[in-house]
Symmetry: C2
Subunit: 245 residues, 2 copies
Amino acid sequence: MRKILICFAYKGTNYSGFQKQPNKVTVQSVLEECLNKVLKENVSIVASGRTDAGVHALKQYAHFECENKISLDKLPTALNTFLPPDIRVYFAKQVDSLFNARTSAKTKTYMYVFCKDKIINPMLCDMVTKLDYQIDIDVVKKCMEKIKGTHNFKAFCSSKTNATSFDRTIYDFSLEEKQNYLIFKISGHGCLYNMVRIIVGTIIDIARGRLNISCIDEMFKTGNRGLGGKTVDGKGLYLFDVKYN
Amino acid sequence: MRKILICFAYKGTNYSGFQKQPNKVTVQSVLEECLNKVLKENVSIVASGRTDAGVHALKQYAHFECENKISLDKLPTALNTFLPPDIRVYFAKQVDSLFNARTSAKTKTYMYVFCKDKIINPMLCDMVTKLDYQIDIDVVKKCMEKIKGTHNFKAFCSSKTNATSFDRTIYDFSLEEKQNYLIFKISGHGCLYNMVRIIVGTIIDIARGRLNISCIDEMFKTGNRGLGGKTVDGKGLYLFDVKYN
């Protein structure tokens, strides 16, 4: 039995998120189906984490165990032959039996992309979120400083979560302004359900004057989701990278 | 009755081409449905030309006549409210009664995009064609010179055409190499059915050594489609711009 790690990417538009669900087409269900075809055995994959419907991954990782002795150099090409073009496997490598794609992940980086164009180029309609408001970038940066560090992020988490502990650490949070695009990158050990989308949505609502910046401290203190901004659209969100030791 | 010209763009992936067809979702059918909703009258649009299934338009034009007196500054926003995000209207302006979006077009420019990456980024899976072969760029450029000018393009036209005359003029044909992308731009007064895709496909087949460059002259001489290369995929093709006087 080998334990194999694959690195892959996907455009989330046509999937009901990453995780397998009955009667839904998900990235996991399509990947497992293709692995079963190529390896001729039933494998279950464990990814670094889930992504929601419409959310993309530029670099995602998953492990699985299998008996098949296929060359790991050939596995990506074999899988890509069966996979739809919106899921691509970049490489596969053997990992030791203690490795776990989810629990061994040290840092996950997410990217959130807004476009300030009055009319979004239809070629990008699944890939960016329209920023319809005038926002104060200095306020955005002040909010980002507040988010960094270790906090109780319960107020930045969907009520649909199964999590029981809400303390999370944000190592890094950057903003790039490039032409008419605003690109956030946020890195942490792990994120709660909808956490990045609620953080970004709350910052935008503060920076456009709908909420006061003090709400961030209040959210950390009270855990009250109702004090925050909206959950921004999944289509602007990307799992950007995952780092392992 | 005003005659109105609209400029719009679309991602062709989810449409059975531009032109209205029974029981198919096309760009024209969706646009006309939204115009009818906004204008509260039945209008038919005439575009600069059709595009095939999966083909995109960065700038497409169409005219229609209507009684409704809506401000033309407000029409694009009104339409974009009803249109799906993969079709966007940029502007509307009144044109004189002799103007025709199809017959008044002086130059149409198409773009064809290949990507040489071994694995295509899934975010671009609907937008570029994978170039799987080593090609000789000098040969590509020689072929492009042969295509320019006025020729009988019957051999570069799908047999499904309704055209009766096949003489067309290519004013300009350029190639840009940008990182791992090959970007062709081809301008002419008008193009036959599948003409750009057959021209590009034939050039690639010559530049990878599957066909001899002399086939281009033979194709012009004989009108025999069978002498040419394959029709490359629609997803790499864009209507790039249309010029009117």
